[in-house]
């Protein structure tokens, strides 16, 4: 039986890359089950047979620990998400300035896709950024809300929205378009924590993977995928 990773949707692609790298060192390839962080957390409380939980936030792992469903010692910040504003090819008005804060201020678009601020951390970060830029009130009636960052990207990629707030990790995948890396100071860090679960079918292996996750190889891969890795990995705030 392989190791089972429950991975927040935004990190699923990266998790597959990590699983491949982990397997290259020998052993069976871990399986990746993805879903929204909230869904995965509920499943874990109802007895889902996962070994590790890679959440998109810090809150849900903490809740699981509080319920005795995760090992407190194992909690690690494996990545910090980076928010970008993305625009598909051809959506920019002619002679527009390069994509950036000015694009939002200029207000020359009809739809801006974000993901649900109540369920997805990237959504909350998008709202914070809009407030920090002082444009929230002018664009709030143009927001369309997707269920996840992936869906927000779909809204824009299909042309239905001209702009979308998504994760940097997604736009690395080469969808064309242009992106603007939203400065970290405009929103609270998107801290993504991982824990080993109390009912893990393979606790030993799970801790081994956790160690791998904090190792240099994994850090390099995570960074390349579009995340920031905390300076002192392994010590969760």
């Amino acid at each position: 039986e392989p190791l089972r990773l429950a991975v927040a949707a935004n990190f699923a692609g990266t998790a597959h890359i990590l699983a491949d790298a982990y397997t290259a060192r020998g052993g069976e390839r871990p399986t990746v089950s993805s879903g929204s962080s909230g869904q995965l957390a509920t499943q874990i409380t109802q007895g889902a047979p996962f070994d590790l939980f890679l959440s998109a936030d810090a809150e849900r792992p903490r809740d699981l620990i509080a319920q005795g469903l995760a090992d407190p010692a194992s909690r690690t910040t494996y990545a910090i998400g980076q928010l970008v504003l993305w625009q598909p090819d051809g959506a920019a008005p002619p002679h527009a300035a390069p994509l950036g804060a000015a694009t939002l201020a200029a207000n020359g678009f009809t739809r801006l896709a974000i993901c649900n601020p109540q369920t997805a951390p990237y959504g909350a970060a998008s709202i914070q950024a809009l407030h920090a830029l002082g444009v929230y009130d002018t664009v709030s009636n143009k927001l369309v809300v997707a269920n996840s960052v992936a869906q927000a990207l779909q809204f824009a990629r299909s042309g239905n929205a001209e702009l979308a707030f998504v994760a940097l990790a997604q736009v690395h995948d080469g969808h064309g378009g242009a992106y603007w890396l939203v400065p970290q100071k405009l929103y609270a860090p998107i801290v993504q924590d991982a824990v080993v679960l109390s009912h893990a079918p393979h606790p030993g292996e799970a801790h081994a993977f956790m160690t791998f996750l904090q190792g240099p190889q994994a850090r390099k891969l995570i960074e390349a995928a579009g995340y920031v890795v905390p300076a002192t990995a392994g010590t969760a705030p």
């Binding site: 929204s36 909230g38 869904q39 957390a41 509920t42 009809t110 739809r111 896709a113 649900n116 109540q118 369920t119 927001l143 369309v144 809300v145 997707a146 269920n147 869906q151 779909q154 809204f155 299909s158 042309g159 239905n160 929205a161």
Partner: protein, 228 residues
């Protein structure tokens, strides 16, 4: 909950409007379609009937993605939207209606089609010998005799458009007052483990739908049938 109340009210009202509008259009589309499919015809007629069921085999969220492309600026939906100066059919109430409609269509067409078939040839022939035009025959003979199937279609269509969610989520954009229906709001609560609010809404939806379904079913009445 109290802070959410106006929001929930708006979503509830939108849900009712969406479900009723979808059910209405569902009936308008599926009655003639089922009638046409029920009559004998060339070999490709049943194949077309099968094609209508196909949207079901795709997960709603995936289907929603295809709709998104079809509704977008470079799809047919965009051309239509341009007629009134819009860019896209997505994120709008009409878009939701179209999406839900396509998704619930098979649940409506098949029962109605069976009901039309079960009538048999004779009542239609009798109506013809009494001088009733095909149009009159359809409304005064075929529809009343297929009534239980039609009510079933309406019940399933209504219930499913109240609960449908994947597609609405995909093409709606969760805009309060325009596309944020109860099922989406409910999903948010559940995602955030706000069980109390979620349970309240779920109970409300079930209760309301129960009443509508019982009323609809009462409309079905008891069909009187000769034994001959």
């Amino acid at each position: 909950m109290s802070a959410m109340a106006p929001d929930v009210q708006q979503a509830a009202w939108l849900t009712i409007r969406l479900a009723l509008t979808t059910t209405l259009f569902l009936m308008i589309v599926s009655l003639p379609l089922a009638w046409w499919l029920a009559r004998p015809g060339p070999w490709w007629k049943p194949v077309l009937g099968a094609i209508i069921s196909l949207p079901l085999v795709l997960p709603p969220s995936v289907l929603g993605y295809y709709f998104l492309i079809a509704f977008g600026p470079s799809g047919p939906g965009g051309w239509v939207a341009r007629l009134w100066g819009g860019r896209t059919l997505a994120f709008s109430f009409p878009g939701l209606v179209v999406g839900s409609l396509l998704y619930v269509l098979p649940f409506a067409v098949q029962p109605i089609q069976n009901a039309f078939r079960a009538i048999g040839r004779r009542p239609i022939e009798v109506a013809a010998t009494l001088g009733a035009s095909p149009w009159r025959t359809f409304w005064t003979v075929a529809v009343p005799l297929a009534w239980p199937g039609i009510v079933t279609a309406a019940v399933l269509g209504f219930a499913h458009s109240v609960g449908e969610f994947g597609i609405v989520l995909m093409i709606g954009g969760d805009i309060p007052g325009r596309t944020r229906v109860l099922s989406v709001a409910l999903y948010d609560y559940v995602e955030n483990a706000r069980w109390h609010d979620a349970n309240m809404i779920a109970c409300g939806m079930v209760l309301f739908s129960f009443i509508v379904i019982v009323l609809l079913s009462a409309l079905r009445g008891e069909i009187r049938r000769t034994d001959a």
